[in-house]
Symmetry: C2
Subunit: 777 residues, 2 copies
C-alpha cells in the first residue's frame, strides 16, 4: 500500500505535468498562427477572420505583445463567464447539458466530501486495528474502513453514511433531471422553426407494383392523415455517389499538394508512381495525372448523380413526410400507422445534419438479426478481446519480425534495440486496440442500423461504459486477465460476487487515486492543448493550403465526442460513489477532476468544438441511468464488504438501499423520461397556434421542400470546382433554404453566406466581445 | 423409480376417476333441475328459459327419457362442432383464443411426439448402461437419456433433437402469433360500434382552483384536440355507494331466507340475535329486523347517491373522453398530452364492463411505490411463504387447541381423533394458503392500481406462473423446502445451477407423469362436473329463491379464470418441453391433457362460462412469452444435464439455442406485439370512413353520453325493489343506452331486455340448435 508520501509524489508529478500543459496551451493559443487550432468555433460561426489579412508580417505568426503573456490563466475565468443561456445559443443545448454532467459531479461530491470527512474520518481514525495487526499499513489506510475492527458497532456509521450518500445522490439526480427536462422543453419551445419539427421519418414503405415509393407515401398519408399531411421527400441511395465525391476530394488534396510543391521548386515537376501507395508502377507527372483522374471522377460523379436522381431503383423505401402543423407531426411520430407493425414505421425525423443516411433502407427482419449479432459480438468483445490480442502478440515477437523482414535482422539483434522491442511490442497491440475501440464500437452501432448520429453516439457510449466497467474497473479491482475473472465469477456462488469485489475495494484505493490523477487531471489538461489537431493543422497548412477556403478545411475543430467522453466521466462517478463511504480520502481527487474538466471543457465548447448536431439533450436519460447503476453497484459492494467484517447486525440494514434506488429509478423514468422521447401535443399545439398568429401567410411547403435532401446533393452542387452544370432551380432553392435556416449550416458553407463581420457587430453580449478582444493579438 | 406397472396402475386409477366424473356429469347435466348449473351461458344469452314453465311436474326435475342416457359422451362432439367464427360470436374472442392455447399445445407436441419416439427411443433403448450398472432401474428409464453411457457420441442425437424441438416450437409459436394478431385485428375491424372504440381514459387530471375537473377536461381537449374532441364523462368515487348496495343485497338475501323459512313453517316466526354472527345479543324477529335494516340502508344509499352526484369532492381526477372518430381516439390514446408526463395520462378506455372502478384515482407517485411494494411482497411471498405457514402449523397443534378451547379436550383426547388431527392439521394451513393464493395475487394486482379487470387477471397470471415455477416445478425437482433451495442457489456458482437442476430432471420423470395424470386428467374431468357451483346453486335455490329473477341470480356461471387457468397450462408446456428430449415417454401424457382439456373447456365456454369482459385476446403476448421462457429453461437444463454426462464435444453446440430463441422472441415482439397494444391509424381511419358512408346521420354524442357511468348507477336505478325515486331522464337514457349496446349487457339485466325466444328462433346455425335440442328434456 502506498503511503501518503507516495501519493504526494504522484500528485506532484501529475500537477506539474498538468501545469506544463496549461502553460504550453497559454503560450500557444496566443500565437496568431495557431488561431485556427484554438478558436475554430468562432471561425465556423463567421465571427472571426484569419489574422493574415492585416498587420506586420511577423505579427501574423507570433504574438509580440508581452503583456498578454502575463495573465496566462486568464482563459479560465473567461470560460466561466459566459452565462448558460448564451452558451446554449452559442453551442447548442447538447453542449450546455453535457457540461452540466461535470457540474452534477461537483454538486454530488462536495456535500459528500464534507459529510464523510466530518463523520467518517474521525470514526475510522480513532481505531487501532491496523496498529495492532502486524500487516504493513499507511496513513491512508488508517482513514479508511480497513481500520475498523471486525464486528465493531462503528459499522453502523458507515451504513448511515451509505444512506446519506444515496439520498443526496438521488436528490441531486432528481433535481438535475427536472432541470434538464425543463431546459429541453423550453429549448424546443423557444427554438426557431426547424424542419424536423414538422417532419417524420417513415421507414419500411411496402413495395407496390403499381405505385412508386413517392406515390405510395403520398397516398398513404393523404388517406390516413388527411387534415395534416403536407409534403414528403423520398430518400435516395447516394452512398456510392458520396464515396465518389469523397475520392475526388482526396485526389484534389493530392493535386494541391503537388501544385504547392511545384510552385515552391519550379525547377522540377513532381512525379509519382501509379501503383499501390506510390511504391511501384509507372512513373508519371503527378500534376497531370491527378488532373486527369479528377476529371474522370467528375464525369463519373455526374453520371452517378443522374442515375440516382432518375432511376427508381435508387429510391429507398423510406421517406421524410412533412405535416402542416407540429401537432400533425407529433401525432404521426407517436402512433402506429399500419396494420402490420413492421411497415410504415414512423419516428421523429432527426435534424437534417443528424441524419445517418447510409442506414435508411435496412428492412425490419434484418434489424433484429443485426441487433442480436451485435449483442453477441459485444459480449465476446468485452470478455474475450484479450484472445486475439494475445495471438497478435505471440506473432509479433522478435523471431516473427526476423522471419518476415530478414533485412532488419542486423538492427534488431543490437541488444538495446532488442530489449526495447521485447518490452514494447506486447503492449502495443493492446494499446492499438484500445485506441481503436471507440471506432469499433461506433462501427458496431452503425451496423445495428440506427438512423441518427446522436443515436449512434449514445449506443456507442453505453457499450463503451460497459467495456470500461468490466475491463478497467473490475479488471483493476480483481487481478488477473478478464477471462480468468469471468471464470471466477461463473464458478462463484451468486452472493459471493459482491463479497469478492467488495473485499478488494479498500485495497485498491491508492491505485484509483493514481488513476484519477493520471487520466483525470493530466489527461484533461492535455485535452486543452490539442496536440494532435495542432500538428495536423500545421502539416496541412504547409502542404495543402492554397486559399482561405483550404485553410478553413484544414481546421479540425472536433466535437465533444459523447461516445468516449461520457463513459469516462461515468467511471469517475462510479469510483467516487464506491469510495465515498469506504475510503473518504479519495473523494477530493475526484472533485479536482470534475472542477478542472468543467473549466477545460467549457472553454473548449465555447472556443473549439464544432457542434455536429443538436439532439436537445436526448442523452440525459442514459447519463442518469448510468449514475443510478453506479450507485447500486456501490451499495452492493459495500454490502459485500461489510458482510466480511462480521458486522452481521448492521449489514442487513443496507438491503433496503438497492430496492429504494430501483424505486427511485422507476419513478424518474416514468416522471421525466417521456420528455426526452415524445413530444407532448400540448406543446406542439401551443407552438402551432403562436406561429399561426405571428405568420399567417407562411409558405411552409416551400420551407420544407428541400430540407431533407441528401447532403451530397447540397455540397456537390455548390462545390467551388464544379465540373458539371447543375439545375439552376435546384441551386436557387437550395440557397434559399440555407438562408432561411440559419440553425442548420453545413460546415463548409458557413463562410459563404455570412459576410466576415466587423469586430463590434459580432457578439451582442459583453462577455463575447471580451473574449474576442482578449484573443486578438 | 417407478416401473411401467406402477405408472400403468396410476394411469388406470386416474382414468377410472376421470371416467366417473365424466359419467356423473353426463347424468347430472340431463336433469332439468341442474339445467342452470350446466347451461347458464344460454340463460344469460336469453336463449333458454327455465324448464319450470311447462310440462309434467316430475319432468321439471328429473329427466325420464332413457334414450338421452344412452349417448352419455355426446357432449364431446357437440362441443367440437361449433365453428370458431361462431364461437367468437357466441363467447367472445378472448374465449376462442384461450382455447387455442390448448390447440397450440397439441400442435407443438404431436410432431415432437412422433419425432422423439421415432428417433430418440431407439437411440436410448439400445444401450446397456443401466443393465451394466448396479442401480435399480425400470423400463421407463431405459427409454430416457439416463440409458446413454457417459461421454457417448449418441448425445449428438439429443442435441439435434433439441434443435428440432426449438425450431418446431418457434415455428408453431410464430404461426400462432400471426394468426391471433390477425384474428384480433379482424375482430376489432368487424366488431360493431362499441363505446371504447371512441373513448380514451384520462388519468391524473391536474387540480385547478378555478375550474372543476369536468371543465378542465373539456377545455384541455378542446384546445389540444380541437377537430376530434366530442364529449367526456367524469369518474365519480362511488366505492362507498357500491359497498352500501352490496350490504343491502346481502341483507335482502337474509330477508328472503327468513321469509322462505316462515312461509314453509307458518307456526313460528323466525328469530335471530343481533350480535356478532348471530351468536349473541338481543333476540329479535328476523323478518322485521331485516326489513327495517334494509329500509335504513336504502335511505343511506339515497343520501350517498345524492352526495356523490352533487358533491365536487366525489369527482375523481379522471375522465372518459370520447372523440368524434376512432382516429381521434387512437391518436389521443397513443400520444403524450401534457408537458408534465405524469399529468393527463391517456390510455385506451377498457370496455365498460372491464373497467375496474376502484383504481381510477390513484396518483402517479403512489403508483410507483405500490408497484415496488408489490414486487418486494411477491418476492417474499414466493420464497418465504412457508415461514408463516410453519408458524401457524406450530400454533395449531393439539396443545394449542386444548388451551384455546378447553371444553374440546375430552373429544380431542380420543386416540383416533387425536392422531387424525395430528396428521391432518399440518397440511391444512398449506392447503388453505394454496387455495387462497390466486385471491391473494389478485388483491396484490388490485393494490398495484391496474384499471381493467383484464389487466388485473394478466398480472395475477404471470405472478401465479412464477410462483408455480418456483414452488411447484423447482420445488418438486429439488427436494427440500423452498427456503433451502434459495440458499442452495445463492451458495452455488452461477453455471452450476442448470447442472444441479438438469441432473435431477430425468429422475423426476415419473413424478411429473403422475402429476400430469392427477392434476391434468382427473382435475380437468372434475372441472366439467362443477361440483361446487352445483351444490351452492341447489343450496341457494332451496333457501333464497322466490322469483325467477332470484333463480337467475343464484346461477353462478363462473368464467374462464385466466389468472389461474393459463399458468396451469403453462406448467404443462414447461414440463412437456423439458422432457421432450430427456424422457420422450412423458410426451403422450401431456398430449392427453391438452386434448381432454381442449374438449372440456370448449364445452364449458360454449355452455357455462359467462364472459366478463372482452379484451380482444390482449393476453396473447404473455402466453407467447411464457412458452418462450419454458423453451429457454428447457435448453438451459439440457445443457446442464449434458455437461454432467461428459459429453464435452456435443454440449457446446447447444449454446447457440438460447441466443437464437432470444432473437426469435425479439423478432416476434417487434413484429406482432404492437398489434396487441396499439391501434393502427390505418384501421381506425378505414372503419371511420366506412361508418361515415353507412350512417351519415349517426348521433354519436347521444350514443356515448352514458356509456361510462359507474355500474352502481345503472344497476341501482333499475333494481326491482327501488326504494327511492330516480331521475326519469337518467333512467330513460340508461335504458336507451343499453338497448343500443347489445354487446355490453350486464348480467342481471339480460333477461329483461331480451324476450324469451322460441326454440327455433334461437340459434341461427344448425350446431346451436342441435345442442339445445339435445339438452332439452
Amino acid at each position: 500500500m502506498a503511503t501518503l508520501q507516495d501519493i504526494g509524489l504522484a500528485a506532484a508529478i501529475n500537477i506539474i505535468t498538468a501545469l506544463i500543459f496549461l502553460i504550453a496551451f497559454a503560450f500557444l493559443r496566443l500565437q496568431p498562427f495557431n488561431d485556427r487550432v484554438y478558436f475554430p468555433k468562432w471561425y465556423l460561426k463567421g465571427l472571426r477572420t484569419s489574422p493574415a489579412t492585416s498587420g506586420a508580417f511577423v505579427s501574423k505568426f507570433i504574438n509580440l505583445d508581452y503583456r498578454s503573456y502575463m495573465k496566462f490563466l486568464n482563459w479560465m475565468p473567461d470560460a466561466l463567464k459566459m452565462p448558460e443561456a448564451e452558451l446554449i445559443d452559442h453551442a447548442g443545448l447538447d453542449s450546455a447539458v453535457y457540461l452540466r454532467i461535470y457540474l452534477l459531479g461537483l454538486k454530488i461530491f462536495i456535500p459528500i466530501l464534507f459529510l464523510t470527512w466530518a463523520i467518517l474520518v474521525p470514526v475510522n481514525w480513532t481505531n487501532k486495528t491496523l496498529e495492532l495487526s502486524k500487516a504493513t499499513y499507511s496513513d491512508i489506510d488508517k482513514l479508511s474502513i480497513s481500520n475498523i475492527p471486525l464486528g465493531s458497532h462503528r459499522f453502523y456509521t458507515h451504513v448511515i453514511m451509505a444512506y446519506a450518500v444515496t439520498f443526496w445522490t438521488c436528490f441531486s439526480l432528481k433535481k438535475e433531471y427536472e432541470t434538464i427536462a425543463n431546459m429541453r422543453l423550453h429549448f424546443l419551445q423557444s427554438e426557431k422553426r426547424r424542419p424536423d419539427q414538422f417532419t417524420v421519418l417513415v421507414k419500411n414503405v411496402p413495395p407496390d407494383a403499381d405505385e412508386s415509393v413517392s406515390e405510395a407515401v403520398e397516398h398513404f398519408f393523404l388517406v390516413n392523415h388527411p387534415d395534416n399531411y403536407l409534403t414528403h421527400q423520398v430518400v435516395l441511395n447516394a452512398n456510392k455517389l458520396a464515396d465518389l465525391v469523397e475520392e475526388k476530394k482526396s485526389k484534389q488534396n493530392w493535386l494541391d499538394y503537388y501544385q504547392n510543391k511545384y510552385s515552391r521548386n519550379q525547377s522540377k515537376r513532381p512525379t509519382m508512381k501509379t501503383g499501390f501507395l506510390g511504391l511501384w508502377g509507372e512513373k508519371v507527372d503527378a500534376i497531370q495525372h491527378h488532373i486527369s483522374e479528377i476529371e474522370k471522377l467528375s464525369n463519373e460523379i455526374a453520371e452517378e448523380r443522374k442515375y440516382v436522381v432518375n432511376n427508381p431503383k435508387a429510391i429507398m423505401p423510406a421517406a421524410f413526410v412533412s405535416f402542416k402543423t407540429r401537432w400533425g407531426a407529433a401525432v404521426c411520430a407517436q402512433t402506429q400507422q399500419a396494420r402490420n407493425p413492421t411497415l410504415w414505421l414512423t419516428e421523429w425525423a432527426p435534424e437534417p445534419r443528424d441524419v445517418f443516411w447510409q442506414n435508411l433502407a435496412i428492412p425490419y427482419v434484418s434489424l433484429t438479426i443485426r441487433k442480436l449479432l451485435m449483442a453477441v459480438a459485444f459480449f465476446f468483445l468485452t470478455f474475450f478481446f484479450i484472445i486475439p490480442i494475445a495471438f497478435v502478440q505471440s506473432l509479433a515477437n522478435i523471431e516473427g519480425i526476423e522471419k518476415a523482414a530478414p533485412f532488419l535482422k542486423p538492427i534488431i539483434e543490437i541488444k538495446t534495440i532488442k530489449s526495447f522491442i521485447q518490452g514494447f511490442l506486447p503492449g502495443i497491440a493492446l494499446k492499438i486496440f484500445l485506441i481503436l475501440l471507440p471506432t469499433i464500437l461506433m462501427m458496431m452501432s452503425k451496423f445495428e442500423g440506427f438512423l441518427s448520429i446522436s443515436r449512434l453516439e449514445r449506443r456507442s457510449a453505453s457499450r463503451y461504459y460497459l467495456f470500461n466497467f468490466v475491463n478497467v474497473f473490475l479488471g483493476s479491482v480483481i487481478a488477473g486477465t478478464v477471462l480468468e475473472q469471468l471464470q471466477t465469477f461463473l464458478d462463484q456462488s451468486v452472493n459471493k460476487i459482491p463479497e469478492t469485489i467488495g473485499v478488494a475495494i479498500p485495497m485498491k484505493a491508492t491505485f484509483f487515486i493514481t488513476y484519477v490523477m493520471v487520466d483525470g487531471w493530466t489527461g484533461t489538461a492535455g485535452e486543452i492543448l490539442r496536440l494532435k489537431p495542432l500538428i495536423i493543422y500545421h502539416l496541412k497548412n504547409f502542404f495543402l493550403v492554397k486559399t482561405e477556403k483550404d485553410r478553413e478545411e484544414a481546421m479540425d475543430p472536433g466535437s465533444i465526442g459523447f461516445n468516449t467522453g461520457e463513459p469516462q466521466i461515468q467511471l469517475y462517478f462510479l469510483i467516487g460513489l464506491i469510495y465515498a463511504v469506504v475510503t473518504p480520502f479519495l473523494t477530493p481527487f475526484i472533485l479536482v477532476f470534475f472542477a478542472l474538466a468543467y473549466v477545460v471543457y467549457r472553454h473548449q465548447i465555447i472556443n473549439v468544438y464544432n457542434q455536429e448536431y443538436e439532439s436537445s439533450a436526448a442523452f440525459w436519460p442514459d447519463v442518469h441511468g448510468r449514475i443510478i447503476a453506479a450507485l447500486m453497484i456501490s451499495q452492493l459492494l459495500l454490502m459485500g464488504l461489510l458482510s466480511t467484517k462480521e458486522a452481521a447486525s448492521s449489514t442487513p440494514f443496507l438491503l433496503a438501499l438497492p430496492v429504494l434506488t430501483i424505486g427511485f429509478h422507476m419513478y424518474c423514468k416514468g416522471r421525466y423520461e417521456p420528455a426526452f422521447i415524445r413530444y407532448p401535443l400540448q406543446e406542439a399545439m401551443m407552438k402551432d397556434t403562436l406561429e399561426r398568429a405571428r405568420e399567417p401567410n407562411l409558405n411552409l411547403k416551400g420551407y420544407l421542400q428541400n430540407a431533407y435532401i441528401h447532403p451530397i446533393f447540397k455540397s456537390a452542387s455548390s462545390d467551388s470546382d464544379d465540373d458539371y452544370d447543375d439545375d439552376d432551380d435546384d441551386e436557387a432553392s437550395d440557397q434559399k433554404w440555407r438562408k432561411d435556416n440559419v440553425l442548420v449550416p453545413t460546415k463548409r458553407q458557413s463562410r459563404k453566406n455570412t459576410p466576415a463581420p466587423s469586430k463590434m457587430s459580432a457578439g451582442s453580449s459583453p462577455a463575447l466581445i471580451e473574449i474576442q478582444e482578449k484573443d486578438k493579438p
